[in-house]
């Protein structure tokens, strides 16, 4: 089906971006850091595919290398926020007693718009890559905790879990052996979306000048630098932006596709609409 093809294209694009930036040193013809005062703000050409920036550096090389920081921040934030959020969600959903306290704390974090919380935290911690990862993790884990908790609540009273409980199975074993595997799909979907959002947020923080050190090439930093040249060198702004859009879009498509693939609700609904879908005659 069409949507399946769309998912494969999205995955391919994302992997290509990741591969390109990881192996960049091996194949980039020009160094992303090579400054040339005679080559400032050149329009895209055969030698400089995406043109050059205000220091005469090759924008294509910089866009490729910049993906490292953006993707690294995205991956780490997605993984750490997922682990913390999942643990909190599991505990909160499974143990009634801790639920109230934990969820009030999570609600407190959720009371800030995510970007604003990250901004305030980076302002306090200082703008290093580590601090940005910490700030974005704090901004995004509460959503994960909420998602996991509601998934746990839905299956908590399923018969196989009741059965495990009545046979005296250890709670930790129940949580990790019986519950976690059954709430994995919303976790995977949500972590894909966090990945996408973290890339956008990192770019926004860098753009606002509170993110990664301006000398490090990141997509956000490039857009921040390019802003004043928008009228004379629009390519300087356009290409880093396109890089963000392509990467984030492929992640969002993947997340959307995973959600459709996992969602038992939508499958059931489809079944209902074709009433003849019963098992073949024995």
């Amino acid at each position: 089906m069409m949507s399946k093809k769309r998912n494969i294209i999205a995955l391919t694009i994302f992997l290509l971006v990741a591969l390109a930036t990881i192996t960049a040193n091996l194949w980039l013809p020009v160094s992303p850091a090579a400054i040339d005062a005679n080559q400032r703000l050149l329009a895209p050409s055969g030698t400089h595919w995406f043109g050059t920036d205000d220091f005469g550096r090759d924008i294509f090389a910089r866009v490729i290398v910049a993906a490292r920081v953006s993707l690294a921040v995205g991956v780490i934030v997605a993984v750490v926020a997922t682990v913390i959020g999942t643990l909190l969600g599991l505990v909160s959903g499974y143990f009634r007693k801790t639920d109230f306290i934990l969820m009030r704390i999570v609600d407190g974090f959720l009371a800030f718009p995510a970007l604003l919380l990250a901004l305030a935290l980076v302002a306090a911690l200082g703008g290093s890559i580590t601090n940005i990862v910490i700030a974005l993790t704090i901004a995004f884990f509460p959503v994960m905790a909420r998602v996991v908790r509601s998934a746990v609540l839905q299956i908590k009273n399923a018969q196989y879990i009741e059965a495990a409980r009545t046979t005296g199975t250890n709670n930790v074993v129940i949580i990790f052996r019986y519950i976690l595997p059954n709430v994995l799909s919303p976790i995977i979907v949500q972590s894909t979306f966090i990945f996408a959002k973290a890339i956008l947020a990192e770019a926004a923080l860098s753009f606002l000048g509170v993110g990664v050190n301006p000398s490090t090439p990141t997509w956000g930093n490039m857009l921040q630098e390019s802003q004043i040249y928008i009228t004379i060198a629009p390519w300087f702004s356009i290409f880093p932006g396109i890089a963000i859009v392509i990467t984030v879009l492929s992640l969002n498509i993947l997340g959307d596709g995973l959600r459709d693939a996992f969602d038992p609700h939508s499958v059931k609904k489809k079944r209902k609409r074709k009433p003849k879908q019963t098992a073949p005659a024995a």
Binding site: M2, R6, R104, I105, D107, G108, F109, A111, F112, P113, A114, L115, L116, L117, L119, A120, L121, A123, A124, L125, G126, A196, L200, A203, A204, F207, L208, G209, V210, L223, Q227, I230, T231, P234, S237, I238, G241, I244, V245, V248, L249, L251, N252, I253, D256, K269, R273
Partner: protein, 314 residues
Amino acid sequence: MLSYTIRRLLSVIPVMLVVSIIVFLLVHLTPGNPAFIILGEDASPEAIAQLEKQLGLNEPLYIQFFDWIKQVMTGDLGTSVYSAQPVTELIFGNFGPTISLMVLSLLFILVISIPLAILIVSLRKTILDPLFTNASLLGVSIPEFWLAILLVLVFGVTFPIFPVAGYMPLAEGFGPWIYHLLLPAFVLALVEIGIIARMLRDSMLDSVNQDYTKTARAKGVRERDVLMKHVFSNALIPTTTVLGATVAGLLGGTVIIETLFTIPGIGQLLIDSIHRRDYPVIQGVVLFIAAIYVLVNLIVDLLYAFLDPRIRYD
């Protein structure tokens, strides 16, 4: 409904408590002595001692927290280290542009996304629907600030229709006010339009297949009325739940948009204060925005309950 309202109102208390703890702790997350950071590396020890005393930094943390909370409760958010103005004054002085921007954005969102979703649903058997689904995904994948830069390039530079920076207060007249706000408000709205329209479309498509829709058709009600009355009124309920998230997106977005279009709102105040390390103002603005967001979520939840008779009459 009454008990629901009371319960919902009470739930604001623990949330605001956690919020204020987080905001309070912000200053204490800074590496090193906050007074040092505020005054700079080469401040005199006397000045630092003076500021420490002023900020109460010598007291134990919980005492500092209770002192701060007591202050906040009386409406005192401290004074700016940079301008020596009360923080509340700064916030209210800068709030006009922000609220103007947000209200106009919200208006854009509602006026565009609702008809869009209805159109998509009524033409669901055409190419328009997959086109729209992909477009809404594209919408949430575009960085707001980049889109703003591009629109400035198109509508401010190539075709100079709109001003690309600045703000006119409403007091200067409706025309100049809205003229300066149209472009930033539209940029701010664009991403959220995709989200709301998608949510409304999904809910409407869900509702289209419900039994009550079949009942309406079996009555002989015309398809247009089935869609506009039965389907739409049901789809509106789940859609209101994302309105809170929309406002969060707008609140976060104003910071970027105000900086880009040099609109003197609280977003720009926040960014300026971050660059100046003016912590009382940072704390004040963050607390203020969180409080607005909590309030908006409260209103949204009550609206949800009001729209759904199953909760309203319970």
